[in-house]
């Protein structure tokens, strides 16, 4: 039997996508935070999580280039084996200060930040309760944990309360939610969840991957926006979205947090971030703080595109947010929709079950502060045209306005 026999259903699912596989996109070039070239055609990038548009920011690029020239291309090992560079220390201190926490730990990816924290924070006899729509990194992290893991219905505090009440009285409990959920762009009801956390004497971890630099008066995420920072014990986040690079972190006030550096295997047994990435992330954090207009522009753009798509008749997953997902009736329509958009110069994400909740098919867009209103208007017109051609929405009564 073929070693990859267990992947036969995946092979069969991909068989129909030979000519154009939306999960194997190869860009010819990336020209800016909002423009690329795909299959020889210019495309608007509307599905890259580049929320603040900092990937080409001059300060960030220069900081990375200087670190690259000054400290080399990589650390060639973990911080346990090869030591910590000054940049790692500085970024951790800056992150902790920005989030108002005593400590922060930097990971090599956001995925590894969740893997590391969730596998190490709780022990045998403890409990983890996660939102059912959690990201794969949360699911994979809790699989590595010795604690008992259970799920609660997405964004449903009453369901969380029932499940917390069922837990045995022994052991610690960690509740895990996300600031903005990556598929639908909806936010956790954090004030209610924080109240349950207090009531049950639990701990709370919030993954702000999609909300750092996006929500809150200072960009500290959903916890800041919801006024719940004092109840959040662990803030996890990523550098690969609003901060425009790669990496992840966890920040906390927890006593003994530093012990995790010698207990957390996804931190210990992988190479640390290269100096150039650390430098660009540190510069991007500074830009995020210094230019709050980026956040305001991002939310203006999100409202703008949301209004255009709603006016065109699309069913969206949530209220205006940088992630706007259009529900499409089935996978075939979703794939056709995605292909026609690419042919007409709009790149967004295709999301199909089981990566999506409740079996829904989505065309997922993510807006950037770097988008010009005219780009979003053009994209909305194209999306509305294709939606009408495929019967997802009716023919527009009038042109989609800006």
């Amino acid at each position: 039997m073929n070693l990859l026999h267990h992947l036969r259903p995946l092979r069969e699912a991909l068989a129909g996508l030979v000519e154009s596989n939306p999960f194997d996109v190869r860009f010819d070039a990336i020209l800016s935070p909002t423009e690329g070239v795909l299959r020889g055609r210019p495309v608007l990038l509307l599905g890259t999580n580049n929320y603040l548009g900092l990937t080409f920011d001059r300060t960030c690029v220069d900081a990375a280039a200087a670190a690259l020239a000054g400290e080399g291309t990589g650390t060639t090992g973990s911080r346990i084996a090869n030591g910590t560079y000054g940049g790692h220390d500085e970024l951790e201190a800056r992150l902790a200060a920005f989030l108002g926490r005593r400590q922060a730990m930097v990971f090599t990816t956001g995925y590894q930040a969740n893997l590391g924290m969730l596998s190490s924070l709780v022990g045998p006899g403890d409990h983890i309760v996660i939102d059912a729509d959690s990201h794969a990194s949360i699911y994979d992290g809790v699989r590595l944990s010795p604690a008992s893991v259970t799920r609660f219905r997405h964004n449903d505090p009453d369901d969380l309360a029932r499940r917390l009440a069922r837990l045995p009285p022994t052991g610690n409990t960690l509740i895990v939610v996300e600031g903005i959920y990556s598929m639908l762009g909806d936010r956790a009801p954090l004030a209610e969840i924080a109240a349950l956390k207090r009531e049950h004497g639990a701990h709370l971890l919030v993954d702000e991957a999609h909300s750092l630099g996006v929500l809150g008066a200072h960009g500290r995420g959903l916890a800041e926006e919801a006024g719940a920072e004092a109840d959040v014990d662990f803030v996890v986040g990523t550098f690969s979205k609003s901060l425009g690079a790669v990496g992840g972190f966890c920040a906390s006030d927890m006593e003994g947090f530093e012990l995790l550096r010698l207990a957390c295997r996804p931190y210990m047994f992988t190479a640390s971030l290269p100096p150039s990435v650390i430098a660009s992330v540190t510069a991007a954090l500074d830009r995020m703080v210094a230019v709050p207009e980026l956040r305001a522009r991002l939310m203006d753009n999100a409202r703008h595109l949301h209004a255009s798509l709603v006016e065109a008749g699309f069913q969206l997953g949530a209220e205006p947010a940088p992630i706007l997902s259009i529900r499409v009736p089935d996978a075939g329509t979703a794939i056709a929709f995605w292909n026609r958009l690419v042919e007409r110069g709009v790149y967004i994400n295709l999301a199909l079950p089981p990566a999506t909740p409740r079996g829904i098919c989505l065309l997922r867009s993510s807006v950037s502060a770097a988008h010009e209103p005219a780009q979003l208007e053009a994209a909305a017109r194209t999306i509305a045209e294709v939606g009408a051609e495929l019967g997802v929405v009716g023919r527009p009564r009038r042109a989609v306005s800006g």
């Binding site: 699989r143 008992s148 259970t150 079950p353 079996g359």
Partner: protein, 84 residues
């Protein structure tokens, strides 16, 4: 508590979630019933609500068939009875 009523209730919960119509046998392998990984975890949530218990996700490793699921549920219920 006997296994039978538990098995019948578990079978009902599975049947409600299977795309094709008709009763599901106890020997049926759950992953062959058209439920993806998320649907199986949603089934576990329904089982938790039906029996008012905690079904840790790692125990899904013990479950191939509908009967396996019922056995794990019965085990959790018995453990709880013993503990109280």
């Amino acid at each position: 508590m006997s296994v039978e009523p538990v098995a019948a209730r578990v079978a009902r919960l599975v049947t409600e979630r299977v795309p094709r119509k008709g009763a599901v046998s106890g020997e049926a392998v759950i992953r062959d019933l058209g439920l993806d990984s998320v649907a199986v975890m949603d089934l576990v949530m329904a089982v938790e609500d039906e029996f008012d218990l905690v079904f840790p996700l790692d125990r899904l490793g013990e479950v191939d068939t509908v009967d396996d699921l019922a056995r794990v549920v019965s085990g959790i219920l018995e453990q709880r009875t013993t503990a109280t």
